[in-house]
């Protein structure tokens, strides 16, 4: 019934949207317009509580909704970080004044980014150094953030700062809600190896942030972060399902080529079958994780394991496609872009090496280094 309602809404709104913005609208404005339309139907963040503008759906329904939305091939929502991460964090930790952001996050009137990593604090995020010093009714912020997704477009930032330099590192961090138009903030795009600039560096020079914009208690920012970073459990399952589908589609293309008379290389065939097996098994682990979540069992290692496995399989697939593209791959084919882009998969959102350390220490109970 929920999905029927969504399907009806999409059938009604998608054609009109495409008529306005064209069949494949990737511009920022188009994406914001699409998010507004979803928000009007209460579909921008169905997992949010009803009182915050969502529908209070559980994890299985969330997955089903996202799967159905993916069928329509609509552009990725510009406010994704706000919808998936910051909004839920504000819902848990925010004051009633801060909760007024929620409606604007839904409608894309506010676009949020997260100021977490720094040049000196990536894997070791707790080592962050951007300082916030109390001065009257404000904090004064100095420092630098890096790898800020959406940094160039964001209207607001969930910023992690050090408020107590004398405390043990995890215990001296606070979270602030920052208006990106504040004086002293400078945003510079970071150009990546694939030529795109999807992230920014953000510099803070004596930026005043009102104390009313402290999110959660002072020096409890690390706990506030846990809400953000631990939030999207079903997300990895969607990635796994999409990867499996991508490989099915690639195999179907190969079969069609064979049908059309192309002689397939058996070694390359074997590679694709291996990819299918690996992607399918990752998806099976995702299904098992969902079964456990739905049964109310405490989540185990599956989410980190799936993220790590998915990222490595994604890279292997890009490698296979790049390799078998041969000379064409390096003479202008988009496969080169896919290959270059794939190199970040095992770095972003937890490097594979750190994930392995965490699995070994926290799940298997092996001693620290």
């Amino acid at each position: 019934m929920l999905l029927d309602e969504l399907r009806a809404y999409l059938d009604e709104t998608v054609p009109a949207f495409r008529a306005t913005w064209g069949p494949d609208p990737l511009s920022w404005e188009a994406r914001c317009a699409w998010q507004r339309i979803l928000a009007e139907g209460k579909w921008a963040a169905p997992a949010w509580a009803v009182e915050n503008g969502g529908r209070g759906v559980g994890v299985t329904d969330q997955l089903a909704i996202e799967t159905l939305m993916a069928e329509y091939g609509m552009p990725a929502l510009p406010g994704m970080l706000g919808l998936k991460n910051v909004g839920p964090t504000i819902a848990v930790w925010g004051t009633s004044a801060q909760k007024e952001h929620l409606a604007r996050i839904l409608s894309a009137e506010e676009i949020w980014c997260q100021g977490f990593s720094e040049p000196g604090a990536g894997s070791d995020l707790a080592g962050l150094q951007t300082k916030a010093v109390e001065d009257g009714d404000d904090y004064v912020v100095n420092g630098q953030k890096i790898w800020t997704s959406n940094g160039m477009y964001a209207t607001h930032m969930e910023l992690l700062v050090r408020t107590d330099p004398d405390a043990p590192k995890h215990k001296g961090i606070s979270a602030l809600c920052v208006d990106m138009t504040s004086p002293g903030i400078e945003v510079r795009p970071i150009k990546q190896i694939n030529g795109h600039a999807e992230f920014a560096e953000v510099f803070f020079t004596d930026v005043r942030v009102p104390k009313a914009d402290l999110l959660g208690p002072a020096n409890r920012g690390w706990d506030v972060t846990r809400t953000t970073l631990g939030n999207e459990r079903g997300g990895v399952v969607i990635f796994a399902a999409r990867l499996e589908q991508q490989i099915r589609d690639l195999i179907a293309e190969r079969a069609a080529a064979r049908e059309a008379g192309v002689v397939l290389d058996p070694v390359e065939n074997d590679r694709f079958v291996e990819h299918f097996i690996q992607a399918r098994v990752i998806a099976m682990l995702g299904e098992l994780m969902m079964t456990r979540l739905v049964a109310g069992e405490a989540p185990g290692a599956e989410q980190s394991v799936i993220k790590m496995l998915w990222s490595e399989e994604l890279q292997r697939l890009a490698e296979t496609r790049f390799e078998y593209g041969g000379l064409d791959s390096v003479l202008g084919d988009p496969l080169a872009q896919e290959y270059l882009s794939s190199r970040s998969a095992t770095i972003a959102a937890g490097t594979s090496q750190v994930v392995r350390n965490i699995l070994a220490e926290r799940v298997l109970g092996l001693p620290r280094d």
Binding site: I251, A301, E361
Partner: protein, 355 residues
């Protein structure tokens, strides 16, 4: 009948405690050297106290009427304990073969006797080049490989699209022992020479592929139990073994090997869950069975190899049980389709090969 997750965990806990007491490493090693390789007293208790052989037998035949999901729990625990009793061969594969046959009084009677554990059945797995001829009710030729043949009361034989049942004591039945890699579970070649057989199903061709798909998945449940235990042994060792003034588990190289083993065991768990669910829901099994078997065969081998690697020198000794786990998973990895067989099958399924 269906069970809940906590029902199954209770079943698992009971089995595990039982097997810890009745199928310890000492017991297993003694049985390896014994005449029959199995302990009838343990089998009797597995049957009467824990109901393992009755799991897959329909209630109408006197069994528990449960599914592959529940049997998978028993198989995992069997693998974990390197149990030498015929859970996979009789309670799993042979029972499945009968479940897939056309219902008849003979089939129901066999299922009923297998449910109590009083009858041990095993399937003759055809080998390439082997062939059987049928003359009236007499079957002759090479029937294939049987697991636990030395203790079986009935051989289930596939010949000419038919399923036959042959009592072990019949004339014309000969078991040729094989010096198998898996010394914890014996296999033999079943040779028939005019052996009198009972015809159970004369059009079994459709069921045969399903039987092998399910058998493959059940073998993976046992491999999962072996792999999980191998990981635990490796982690326990890494926590206590010291070199260079530190426990070896604090070295990242060792931690990363074990984290990779954990990831493989988790994936095996997801694969087996998907496999037994599909088998229990009567879903089409070809793709799932091949994915699960190809993956689990490779992954379980790697996990046990990593155990040996982390153990260092002692992992290479006969005295340490690591090689017993290796022998079991490598052998199961070859039965019901090797990874290469299943990859070929998937390639054909996807129309990447074929005419």
């Amino acid at each position: 009948m269906t069970t809940t997750s906590s029902d199954r965990e209770e079943f698992r806990a009971g089995l595990r405690a039982f097997l810890q007491a009745q199928s310890s490493e000492t017991d297993v090693r003694a049985l390896i050297e014994s005449a029959t390789g199995y302990d009838p007293a343990v089998w009797e208790k597995l049957s009467s106290q824990l109901g393992v052989p009755a799991v897959l037998v329909p209630a109408s035949a006197g069994g528990q009427g449960l599914s592959y999901v529940e049997l998978a729990v028993a198989l995992e625990e069997s693998g974990r304990a390197l149990l030498t009793a015929p859970v996979l061969s009789s309670s799993g594969v042979a029972t499945t073969a009968l479940r897939l046959a056309r219902t008849s009084p003979e089939v129901q009677a066999l299922l009923g006797e297998m449910a109590t554990g009083e009858l041990i059945g095993t399937l003759a797995i055809p080998t390439p080049g082997g062939s059987l001829s049928v003359d009236g009710d007499a079957v002759s030729g090479s029937a294939g490989i049987v697991m636990d043949g030395q203790i079986a009361d009935r051989f289930l034989v596939l010949a000419r699209d038919c399923l036959f049942s042959i009592p072990a004591e019949n004339a014309g039945v000969r078991l040729e022992p094989i010096a198998s890699l898996d010394i914890t579970r014996r296999q033999q070649r079943l040779e028939l020479d005019g052996a009198k057989a009972t015809l159970l199903d004369r059009s079994y061709a459709g069921a045969e592929q399903r039987l092998f798909d399910i058998a493959a998945i059940l073998a993976c449940a046992e491999m999962l139990g072996c792999a999980q235990r191998a990981l635990e042994i490796a982690v326990d060792y890494a926590k206590v073994r010291e070199q260079f003034g530190k426990t070896i588990g604090s070295f990242q190289a060792v931690k990363h090997l074990l984290a990779d083993s954990l990831a493989k065991v988790e994936q095996m768990r997801g694969a087996v869950a998907a496999g037994v669910t599909a088998a229990s829901e009567d879903a089409e099994l070809g793709e799932v069975a091949s994915v699960v078997k190809a993956y689990c065969s490779t992954a379980s081998a790697e996990v046990v190899q990593t155990l040996i690697q982390v153990l260092g020198g002692i992992g290479y000794t006969w005295e340490h049980p690591a090689h017993l786990y290796l022998r079991r998973v490598r052998t199961l990895g070859m039965f019901f389709g090797t990874p290469a067989d299943h990859k070929r099958r998937l390639a054909a399924r996807f129309s990447l090969t074929g005419v």
